[in-house]
Symmetry: C2
Subunit: 201 residues, 2 copies
DNA sequence: TCGTTATTTGAACGAGCGTCCAAGAACGCG
DNA sequence: CGCGTTCTTGGACGCTCGTTCAAATAACGA
């Protein structure tokens, strides 16, 4: 059987996620990852391949985790509309405030790495698409239940919210507590208000 | 007095902007800048200081240029509402399509560098704030002229559009022609319609 | 107990990084 | 024509990068 592993790969990935998230791909060195994960580089290379492969594994794990979180957030509250609102609020709070200037790893990666690495690009792009695909049915349901105005096309609104959330995470990186993020969040929440309902059927 | 400079600093900055824009700060080496600008490193160091200072100068120039462009785009068309629409369309087209996956230098920098460099952060943050400050009066005027619904708060809408545009430039980096960007753009345009917007698609 | 096998360890490697600087080259002026 | 001044040129420096690998280590079955 040989000598047993002294670390859990997923736990290492969680640590690596933290580093890539707060510092970025290029700015994190393998030495940094060594100290950050507590695993010496030889073992990192044996377990994951190289720096890029470790990053890809971290990114995929982060994407999976965030996909799960989306479902949780959307199912919060009494109805689909409350879930949407909750999702937006959490995402908004997540990128304002002290220590919250690292944004979202997917957005950071889209900006820094995606154009130069097809595999990375695919992971990030699919994540964004999945997010939109998760938001859209919630919007449709909310509209069907008369909780959300039908003024807006559900598909477009879903895409809009995806783009908006990524924008918040980017703009939020320029200030510990960004007024722009807060205002845009308030605006987005106002979009979800059922202010001009036609006769519900 | 002395040997004359063989290059124009602003022209060099324009070249440097291109490189930082398409490749990112950390991924561009001083050697790359040497070949990209056509100026040997010794002269670059003499003229600008070091890599970070050159980046900062490029970033400030980019920010200035984009502030000018905003005013131009907003004044396009017959009225403030047409200017806003034009601005959104141009920004949307600018980050979809082949060869358009480099987004916006300000957004890229917000994601990659801003959290780790206060001076950079200030430049980017102020740029975003200026953009919002340029959009808001256009929105107010459009509302006063009855061209744009008063349903939305002008200040919040301005912030919303800033964040949205940054989001488009980030999401657009994951695909040459992003359906998400196109949809969110269509949605944003529908927000600018005066009364009950039709459900396009 | 010993041999097998898988993992850990950290020294070592070449390449490339950002930066510096001494020498040469091109001007204006006396 | 020198002379002073400024900019250019490209080699060199020290360092850190990502990566490799042989030796040391630890668990297993026999």
């Amino acid at each position: 059987m040989g000598r047993p592993k002294t670390f859990d790969e997923d736990a290492v990935l969680d640590r690596a996620i933290e580093q890539f998230w707060t510092t970025g791909y290029h700015a994190v060195s393998v030495r940094d990852l060594e100290t950050g994960t507590g695993v010496l580089k030889g073992s990192l290379y044996a377990a994951f391949g190289d720096k890029r492969a470790l990053f890809l594994a971290s990114l995929r794990r982060y994407a999976d985790q965030s996909a799960v979180q989306i479902r949780e957030l959307l199912s919060h509250g009494a109805n689909p509309r409350a879930g949407l609102e909750h999702y937006l609020r959490v995402r908004g709070k997540g990128c304002t405030g002290p220590g919250r200037t690292r944004g979202c790893l997917l957005a950071n990666t889209a900006a820094e790495v995606a154009p130069h690495d097809p595999e990375v690009r695919a992971v990030v792009g699919q994540s964004f698409a999945k997010l939109a695909a998760a938001l859209e049915p919630a919007i449709v349901e909310a509209q069907e239940q008369g909780l959300l105005s039908r003024r807006h096309d559900a598909h477009e609104l879903a895409a809009h919210l995806v783009v908006l959330v990524q924008g918040m995470s980017v703009v939020g990186k320029t200030e510990p507590d960004s007024a722009l993020v807060r205002s845009s969040l308030r605006f987005a929440l106002s979009l979800l208000e059922n202010d001009a309902p036609e006769k519900s059927r």
